[in-house]
Symmetry: C2
Subunit: 332 residues, 2 copies
């Protein structure tokens, strides 16, 4: 007894220490964020808007947070993931389209000349998207996206694209939801390209995804009703389209909005123009070692000087990936 | 002690009885539905789809139920509520539009000749809607709707329109939500006409309302960003538009759908075409005493013979307001 008692006590003390350490860890909902003003701003906002005694209190039903996807929640370099998907689809579909050999932008693409293909600008990109995203049912498209994402790899890291999501943002999504926020994606990307995987990867269900879309048509195929995707733009959820898409899909103004490029400017302006508390943040890609470094000169995810100036003037927080995040991807 | 003990016991017994009675009452989530096959079908469906051991079990995330609004959740006779709103707006706005005196359908409307005004058919209705629903910000429109609904009365009952909602359907919405279902409105009515009040009246938040819409434009007014409503149709959420709207807004197929007219046919077909369990129901207005009685010949809420036949063939339940509901409105 005289020997076992101290051991027991030591064991208890050790257990208590472990529990304390686990508690300290569990009590930080944002472990991938470095301590500093950015993390403080997030925590302060969430604490104030959920504290009934705070002047900044927001009713649970009004706790709407919107997140851009490309460059905000997952990687968008060296090219939008959806564009890589479309390029792969061109190769897969080429045998059924012998005419593509003599038709731009497909001819260049099939020769591996990406630069030549994209020389046609937005029109060329649109042609590639329509040729690869339309003329099939919504169910067929969903399967195509799922199948592709299950094996396609990021050209630089060799990881699955669904692993190329920013761990600090995944923590932020969960933290906001734990505090009664409804999290939405509001992206220029295709709504039906995102919905098959956002619930699993981000915890965001299909009905909380807003994005660009093409038109669909209801018809009967093989005796069953089907929605067929048409080669016709329905909505572009970018720039001024973001507040329009938010109003159409959500019908409430967000109190928090997160983006990373000029495409998100109006979403943040719209959010800030609400009556009560609001939080606006822009992810800045300034970490060439762990991810990418790009800004005003990048065609993908342009973070213009004007946007940086507007962020300063309006008090929007610019998140430095380099300084604010101690981890970028979960696999690190 | 010998006197008080039996009293205490009597008190306890009485308390137990009261508790039991309260429990019996609380245990029926659909008190306004008469016992019978319709109510049984609802309860059986909900029990089976929420029972993990049932072959018909539906994962919580997939529990999507869609409800038409006009004629399914609230009254649509003698005219769609939104049309009554538009007609009232014409009168209010007339002093600002002297040209309306010589311009149909406004001239007839202002003379009180509704029949003459609507002789122009859908085109006339569209003109009235555009003249009264556009050229203002979304915030201004929301206020107009709220102000109107706060005082406008149903022409037959003299009740507020928000009191003209079907109590059995309100109970059904709550019952399904209590069992993990996410309830959505999918209506041919204007999305922004419904959103200002559906949360309060039905417990359905704006982000779960799908409807017809006009286009909006993002611009800066008085130094603040605003969404301005344009006199241009964006989407008609009726007939084949319903599955399209469901796909666009929800991104999942419903497992339960409730409607009341030919405008809901494709929504029910789309719901039934899913892989697992599904429930399709149509409210039939067959109670001229307590509400209205109308069917194939009504221009509003047409329940065609073909729809009745399809319901029988496909096993959809037709809800008889007369026989299945012991109460129609909460104020009865």
């Amino acid at each position: 007894m005289m020997i076992t008692l101290p051991n027991t006590l030591r064991g208890l003390a050790l257990g208590a220490l472990c529990a304390l350490s686990a508690f300290a860890h569990a009590s930080d909902p944002l472990p991938s964020w470095n301590e500093g003003p950015t993390k403080q701003a997030i925590v302060k906002f969430v604490q104030e808007t959920t504290d009934k005694n705070s002047a900044k209190y927001v009713e649970p039903s009004e706790r709407i947070a919107t997140f851009d996807n490309d460059g905000t929640l997952w990687v968008e370099q060296p090219m939008y993931v959806q564009l890589l998907f479309a390029l792969d689809r061109v190769k897969t579909l080429a045998p059924q389209h012998p005419e593509w050999k003599g038709q731009e932008p497909f001819a260049s693409l099939l020769k591996g000349d990406l630069k030549g293909a994209l020389a046609g600008g937005d029109k060329a990109i649109l042609e590639v998207v329509m040729a690869t995203h339309a003329d099939m049912t919504t169910a067929e498209f969903e399967k195509t996206v799922k199948d592709w994402l299950a094996t396609a790899k990021h050209p630089k890291t060799g990881k699955l694209f669904t692993e190329m999501v920013y761990q600090p943002m995944v923590e932020l999504l969960a933290y906001m939801r734990a505090n009664g926020y409804k999290t939405f994606i509001v992206s220029g990307g295709g709504i039906e390209f995102m919905r098959p995987w956002t619930e699993k990867v981000y915890g965001i269900p299909p009905e909380q995804v807003v994005g660009s879309s093409i038109k669909t048509k209801f018809e009967t195929r093989n005796g069953k009703p089907a929605l067929v995707r048409l080669p016709e733009i329905n909505f572009i959820d970018d720039k001024t389209g973001k507040p329009i898409g938010i109003n159409e899909h959500i019908g409430r103004r967000p109190v928090a909005a997160f983006g990373n490029s000029t495409g998100d400017q109006q979403m943040l302006e719209w959010t800030q123009a609400g009556d009560g508390a609001s939080l606006m943040m822009l992810v800045h890609h300034d970490d060439a070692v762990r991810e990418y470094s790009y800004g005003p000169d990048s065609k993908i995810g342009t973070f213009s000087d004007a946007l940086m100036q507007e962020a300063k003037q309006r008090g929007w927080t610019v998140i430095s990936m380099k300084n604010d995040w101690n981890k970028i991807f979960a696999y690190e």
